[in-house]
Every structure is written in structure tokens, then in C-alpha cells.
Assembly symmetry: C2
Homo-oligomer: 341 residues x 2
């Protein structure tokens, strides 16, 4: 699988050259249809546009059925191509539909959000939410290519951009102390975004190439996500948090747990906390919700049996995985986050 | 992936030895629950039984949702095992659910019908029907093991056994003229079934190992299925035909097409036709349905664009693939089958 960065005008025709697809479909949502599709449309031969509703709450089996139906109606055979043009929801769900249509047809990802450019589009994790659990049904299948055009980021609201940046921070914290030391001294507006996208993609690609189906090393990418996913899931209904906003909370909580286990120094914990609070602020969590949030960590896909297992920093720039956490660890970390420990 | 033949009392404990599954579920239908599960139950530690309705009409997304729900309810993590105990429907659908639950957990197939023992359980094709199209949504994922116990065949109605035998015939016709010459001189009752199961599994395994995702060679396994699947799909609603009964029709039709293209001699066509009619009899097809059946061949997963492509015999024991067929070829072959050409 190749991950290419550049303008879509250059990358897409390059990808299609010499390929003889029997059909092409673009999956978009109403935002990318308006903001991104006009540039893509010009580059494609005759194709079908499948527009789905926008938002995580539509990442489900009903929308998959709509996509599968559409591919069936236009009589796509196994030699057709699906192009997923959008953020993580489009990439994960459009990819899942392509990977399961007639047992799998070609698909490429054109991620249009920072989050999907630095994270979701790389690594072959596809899927949908099910019964309130994130990415509960899915497969590991690599796309044929990932085409990253940073110009699409200009179409994003600032809050989305900030949210996606949480994964950039994560990649620095788990693998690259030097880059961490660079970014934590800069404002978000002055970041060298193209360089950071490359850095994140290279970091993630190296990890998933070594362990594509998450038997071991790949679990370090889950840093911040054990608590973060639970916080995100808990807030799906009310006071929606964006993915990166929840992961920012998770990274502070899990840094605290690593500190409490002697894996991070107090200085390192302070550094992480100070920077993340400076970018994301402190989210008001209600202590009455902590037990429910802690319970949700039980559904993480990295767990084994009833034990919650997390990836924890072993110093900044290094990360261990499969570390068992107790409910108490998680409750304490949430209290720490809220300054009530 | 290992395919093992023997008694389930020997094979299942052998498979489980040294494995530390966090949970085990058995997927069965009401027939295998009654006829096969009592033997399996004794061999397993604490486990969950998921019973689904019996029949191809239940091989759909609604039943998948029931299975996924059940796995979620019992809080299966990624280290759990699904055991599919049944025919092709159970194996294909239970396998698909396991291969997509949390992006894939371990599963093994214990096929209990001749059809699934000699065909469906080997090769990693999983999936469900969708909008009337067979196996339209699915994945290629190899099970961890296939455990074949021929003793389960004693629980089958004779018609089921005869239907499954069509795939044994197919494996001889596409790859082994000597075996073809042996079986066509025997009555079904006197067949050395264990030897034939081994022969079919070995034939299929050799082919799918060479080409797991059906880019080329594997397509020869589709012999008889281009017309056969269309006949089967057409009869899903009324006058249900079993899979093998439809494939028997397909093999005669496609042998005729091969003959008409100079790939089979008249003697070879006669041999094939005579033997298959002797086992399956001549099914009454209504010439008014031929156009609809021919139209259904357009949805075969081996096609490219609007051209139907089939695997045709190149003499007995040899098979070519990707041979374009016209609607006229198909219509003529159906007329030939009915003796009205």
C-alpha cells in the first residue's frame, strides 16, 4: 500500500494510469461533496457519486446497506473501484463496504480531515459502530492507495483541525521525543503541517507494517485511547466530544496512570499535561459519570478476558503495551484529570 | 489452515490443546443442534450456543446482527473462538460474523454436510446473501482449522447427500480424469466416501493455496456454477433446488457450451451428460424462464464489465477459465439440457 502526499490533481490521475476499472464510485458526505468533490470530479472518467449522511452516528449497518445497494444497482463487478472522499467515517465505512462487496473490490482513501490524514487512512482498519460500540464490526484490509492532499485541510473548521492534531501529538509521545520537544513549543497555527503529516504517516506506517493485525507492537497506537474511547463513547449522546478531544483527555489520564506506576517522572507528566491542556483546555467531566466511563473501558478490543489492557508511556518517546489496568487506576486518573484527586 | 479428517472426539480436543481462548461459542442451526451438537458439547469447556434458523433464506444481514449481538452480549474479546457446526450456511455466515467481529476473531469450521465437507469449508470464502444475490457480501478469511467428521453424514437426508456429491463430481471433471472414470461406473451408495472427501479436499486445497483470492486459477472451481448459480437463484422462491442439484444442471449446460466451442468431444459431452442425468435425473425447466436465468448470470462475481465469463472444460480432467459467454450460448445450453435444441 502506498501513502502519497501531494495535490489530488497530480496523485489521482497518477494512480489511475494504466488501470482498467470496470466502474468507479466516489463515496462522500454532504460536506466533502460540496468542498472536495468538485476538484475530484474533474479528474475521473464516468463514475457514480454515493453521498451519505455526515457524522459518526451514521457509521452503521443501515448506511452500509445503502452503499452495498448502490454498488449492486449500478452492477459493479469485482474489477470496480471505490474512492472514499472524506474523514474517518467515510474511510472506515466506505472501505468496509468495498472490502466486503463481492468479497472485496479495490478501494482508495482520499482523507480530507487532519485526523484521517494522520491516522484513520493508514493501517487498514475498517469498520462500523454497532450497538454503541465503536468500530465493533469490521476487517483489516489495506487500501490500494492513500492520497493525502493537505489543501483539503483548508476546508475544515478550526475545531476539527485541533481535534485531528491529537493524533499528531500521540505519534510524537509514543515514538519521537525530539519531535515532541519541537511541537510543544509552538502554537497550533505555526505548525509545519505538511512535515507533521509526513511524520505521523511514517510513524504509523512503520508500526502497522511490523504488526498489521495488532498482535503486539501496533497496540502502542492505542495510547490515550483506552480512557479516551470510553470518554468519547460516553459522550456520544450528549455534549458530543470530537475524537481528538476525547483522546486528549485519555492521554492525560493514561500519562497519570503511567506516572503512578513509576513509568513516567513527575516532570514528564507535568510537561504532557501542561501542553495538552494548553491546546485543548480542560473539559468539564462530571464525577458522577466516572464509574460509567470506567465500565466502558471493558469493551476495548485490545482487552483479554475481563482485564483492561492499555498502552502506557515508558518515558516520553517510548511506549509499552498490554499493561493491565484496574478500574481503580481508571477512576483515579479521571479524578486527576479533573484536579480532584 | 489445516483440514483434518477423523472423529470430532479426536480432532476437537487436539485443536483446543494448549490454546487459551477467553470464550467459546458454537453456532448451529436447529438440525445440527439436535443431531451434531450433543457430541460436540461434551468436548468443550464452558461455552455459549447460538442457534440460528435453518436454511439459505436465513443467510442474511439480519441473522448476522443476531450473531454479532450475541457475541457482544457475552462480552467476547478478540481472544475468543467461534465454532461453526453445520452446513454451508452456518460455515459461511458464522465465519463471516467471526471474521468481522472486532475486526476478526478465531473460528473453526466443523462441516456436517457432504457439500460443506467437500467444498464450502475449504478455501476461506465467507459471506451472506444480499438482495437476492448469493454470497454478495463477504470476505476471504481462512478458518484456523476445518475438522471433517464423515460420521456426521449419517444424519443427512439422502437428497442432501446426493446434492453435495455434485461438487465431488466437479472436482473430478476439472482435475482428475482417472477418478472421474472410477466414480462414473459406481452407484452413489457404493462410493468410498472417505476417500472421495479426501480427494475433493486435496483438490480444492491445492487450487486455493495457489490462488487464495480468485485472481486466476481458482476460477476453475466455478465450473458448472455460472449457469448453475443462476438456475439456483431463479428457483430460490418456488420449486427450491438444492445447490448441488442446480450445479448438476449447470455442469451439463456448461459441458454443452464447451462442446459447442470445440473444447469437448461429442463422446465426452455424452459421458458427462449420461452420468449426471443418471444421478440427478432431468429437472423440468420452463423455457419461458430461460431469459430470466440467462440474465441472472450477469451478476456472477467472476464477470468483468458486462461480459459473463465462465470456467469451461478443456477435455475431461482439465479446465480453462475466463472464457466469455454470450447470452445466446447460455440460452442454447438450457435448451440443450431440456432436449429442445
Amino acid at each position: 500500500m502506498s501513502v502519497l502526499q501531494g495535490s489530488v490533481e497530480q496523485l489521482l490521475p497518477q494512480y489511475l494510469e494504466g488501470k482498467d476499472y470496470s466502474g468507479i464510485a466516489v463515496v462522500a458526505d454532504k460536506n466533502t461533496r460540496k468542498d472536495c468533490y468538485p476538484r475530484v470530479k474533474e479528474l475521473l472518467p464516468k463514475h457514480h457519486l454515493i453521498t451519505i449522511q455526515d457524522g459518526e452516528e451514521y457509521k452503521n449497518l443501515d448506511i452500509c446497506t445503502i452503499i452495498w445497494n448502490k454498488l449492486t444497482e449500478v452492477e459493479f463487478d469485482r474489477h470496480a473501484l471505490v474512492i472514499n472522499l472524506g474523514g474517518g467515517v467515510i474511510g472506515d465505512m466506505g472501505g468496509f463496504c468495498a472490502a466486503t462487496y463481492k468479497r472485496g473490490i479495490d478501494f482508495i482513501q482520499i482523507p480530507t480531515t487532519l485526523l484521517s490524514q494522520v491516522d484513520a487512512s493508514v493501517g487498514g482498519k475498517l469498520g462500523i459502530d454497532f450497538q454503541g460500540f465503536k468500530n465493533h464490526i469490521g476487517v483489516f484490509t489495506q487500501p490500494c492507495a492513500v492520497l493525502i492532499d493537505p489543501a483539503f485541510l483548508a476546508t475544515l473548521p478550526e475545531r476539527e483541525l485541533r481535534s485531528g492534531f491529537a493524533e499528531v501529538i500521540k505519534h510524537c509521545l509514543i515514538r519521537d521525543r525530539d519531535m515532541w520537544n519541537r511541537i510543544r513549543r509552538m502554537e497550533l497555527e505555526e505548525m509545519p503541517m505538511q512535515e507533521l503529516i509526513n511524520h505521523s504517516v511514517a510513524t504509523k506506517k512503520a508500526i502497522v507494517t511490523e504488526d498489521p493485525t495488532e498482535k503486539g507492537l501496533r497496540k502502542i497506537l492505542n495510547f490515550g485511547h483506552t480512557v479516551g474511547h470510553a470518554v468519547e463513547t460516553f459522550h456520544l449522546e450528549k455534549d458530543r466530544l470530537l475524537h481528538g478531544e476525547a483522546i486528549a483527555i485519555g492521554m492525560i489520564c493514561e500519562a497519570y496512570i503511567a506516572y503512578s506506576k513509576g513509568m513516567l517522572t513527575e516532570t514528564e507528566l507535568g510537561e504532557i499535561e501542561e501542553y495538552i491542556f494548553s491546546v485543548y483546555g480542560a473539559v468539564q467531566l462530571d464525577p458522577q459519570d466516572f464509574a460509567a466511563i470506567a465500565a466502558l473501558t471493558g469493551q476495548d478490543k485490545k482487552n483479554r478476558g475481563n482485564t483492561v489492557r492499555a498502552a502506557l508511556l515508558n518515558g516520553i518517546g517510548d511506549c509499552s503495551y498490554d499493561i493491565p489496568l484496574t478500574k481503580k487506576d481508571i477512576l483515579k486518573s479521571l479524578k486527576y484529570y479533573c484536579g480532584i484527586l
